[in-house]
Symmetry: none
Subunit: 418 residues, 2 copies
Amino acid sequence: MKMLKVVLVVADGLGDRPVPKLGMKTPLELVDFSIVADLLHKSAVGLWDPIQPGVRPGSDTAHLALFGVNPLNNYPGRGPFEAIGAGAILHPGDIAFRGNFATVDKSMTVIDRRAGRSIPEAKQLVKYLNENIGEIDGVKVEIYHATEHRVAVVFRGTSLSDAVSDTDPHTEGVKVLESKPLVGSEEAERMARIVNIFTRRVYELLSACPLNSKRVEKGVPPANVILLRGAGKMVKYPKFSERRDVNLRKAVAISATALVKGVCALLGFETVTPRGATGGVDSDIMAKARAAVDFYKQDYDLIYVHVKGTDSASHDGNPEAKVGVIERTLKGISYIVDRVDLGEVVISFLGDHATPVTVKDHTSDPVPVMVYAPGILADGFSKLTERDARKGSLGRLRNTELFGVLMDYSGRAEKFGA
Amino acid sequence: MKMLKVVLVVADGLGDRPVPKLGMKTPLELVDFSIVADLLHKSAVGLWDPIQPGVRPGSDTAHLALFGVNPLNNYPGRGPFEAIGAGAILHPGDIAFRGNFATVDKSMTVIDRRAGRSIPEAKQLVKYLNENIGEIDGVKVEIYHATEHRVAVVFRGTSLSDAVSDTDPHTEGVKVLESKPLVGSEEAERMARIVNIFTRRVYELLSACPLNSKRVEKGVPPANVILLRGAGKMVKYPKFSERRDVNLRKAVAISATALVKGVCALLGFETVTPRGATGGVDSDIMAKARAAVDFYKQDYDLIYVHVKGTDSASHDGNPEAKVGVIERTLKGISYIVDRVDLGEVVISFLGDHATPVTVKDHTSDPVPVMVYAPGILADGFSKLTERDARKGSLGRLRNTELFGVLMDYSGRAEKFGA
């Protein structure tokens, strides 16, 4: 079978629902598709449920499924992926927690679960902790700042367990919880001890930290503890080059989003953020398209372009901005189409999940997907919308199935059987 | 519930994609369906993904799913099924490998991984080996010729393991590999030893074989070793009569294809090849139809007719031949319809997987399926094509679901629950 290159363009949070201020149309229904009309006409269209109908995807789980790894069987929980999204590079066996800076009194009773939420000193506090916390029982500790009061905490050592309870009581007015082993293993007992030492040491370090003294002087609650929840043990994902079901050697992900780049790196992608690509609605999408063409002309089999602005606009509840980012993404696709050989490439455009502007958060609605491949049974559509996509010949694909379809149309799928 | 007989007709590799030389129509779109128009009109239509969207089926995995066994959970790898396709009758616990006749020099360095590919003496070489190789550590060895340089090798004994590495280096200019245990068990260590003794013994026997001396005289590379890959341990499949989910006592498969007959035999079918049925495009399909009617008139619950010519034409990239085989298959179906009681039978026509003539290999495209049953919600279609089938009331069935539907419409499915 002849192997073709694959160019995959995702507009994050693309799928949507009817918007009252758009006359009950969806953002996609207001988009001008004329710039990619020819490509769309030759493509098959359908819907994709990133996980399965009714399951709201995260960007991490959606991207795992998009690249052929079923997150229902291979997901260690949010802890490790929060850490990856905050810039951590995790190794299999690492234990990661989600965490909050919080405020406790001397008896370790939680006064404010978010330490006032606004913590301009957060990055400095994290740096201070990382410089001073040291190892605990031979285990390395890394803290990463995410957003506002949110952090991720990584424990790295041998024979660690994620079977331990949260220290976060998930409410205020009660004491910080002791972490307890959830199973009767030595590893879990040791891990709980390490977590409890961590909590005490963080409290002592932060209580003595001048940045907190200044917060108290200003009358804001000190960020004097980190509450942990959702322990997860990092798993090993197969890199493309190790997989037996597909023939992919080199893949590149073009994105400005740490979580997406982190997931892609786990799967064996090189990751690149072109200058001007910001992950926001103002991102230079054409810079990503130019990068995609550069990689296409090299020996890359799979070129992935990730556009975050659609999701940002959705979280802001701004349908007009979403339409604008989609149209700039289509210009990027058109730039790529003009510079590749349509007899030698598979091109797909889709969302990684729906983020309706009326909801401002990820939902489980299936997302529209377009697949161009030489010789595909084309639907001849002139638009790609939530409504039209239901009638497309790709039908409704789930989870890893879309990746299989892309691998098959590009001649890169191994036969299952004789 | 009244139990009906089921007649299932598969045109192997039926599904296709638009073909340039057919004006971007698929072979099915050029087929004259008038001879089965009445049956089709009373049938429900849909699509079937033999494994799941994006997974390219083999004939073995597709037939397992077709008869209600999910190959994603019950497939030992290609080794055993290559052996079955080459005529072996396997028992649970047998270890089977795919193999190649190859050419090595005295240091066991691989000179030609396929021994020139054309080996007219292959069957004689296999016979010579089977007569002389003997047992290895109490384990029986059987070699089967498949096609050209390809063989399958079966090891039969007690407590054998398939957790051993290939001897095939998958490249030339390097030595034949020692098989190594892939897990730390006694069984795997013994199996690796047996495989390595096999390799040495085959090399010695073939090096001394006069057939190879003649090849060398003719200037073609001697077939002086067998390279093994893909060890698999045969599993036990439930026979129809043992299954709790369906009520089927007697089933017959009418086919001229060893792999299909082998899979059917594993599941409890009797298997029959009528005179004139060849598995090629010239096969006497009407002989199969006559056999189907004969079995229908006896006490068989499930009569399966397999037509291979559609797949052969597809592998040859010959759409006109494919149209011809489909039309002769429809004549066979019409012959059957004229001789059964449509109030007492379920009739289904479909492909076991797609083999687009433009690709010349199995792809994951869903295949059109037609189900006639008394009282079914019919779609009233006049053709069965890839495009029309999307609109059919059967929707898009996956894996074992189609078998469940056939069993239900024939009153043979057990209720799941109270």
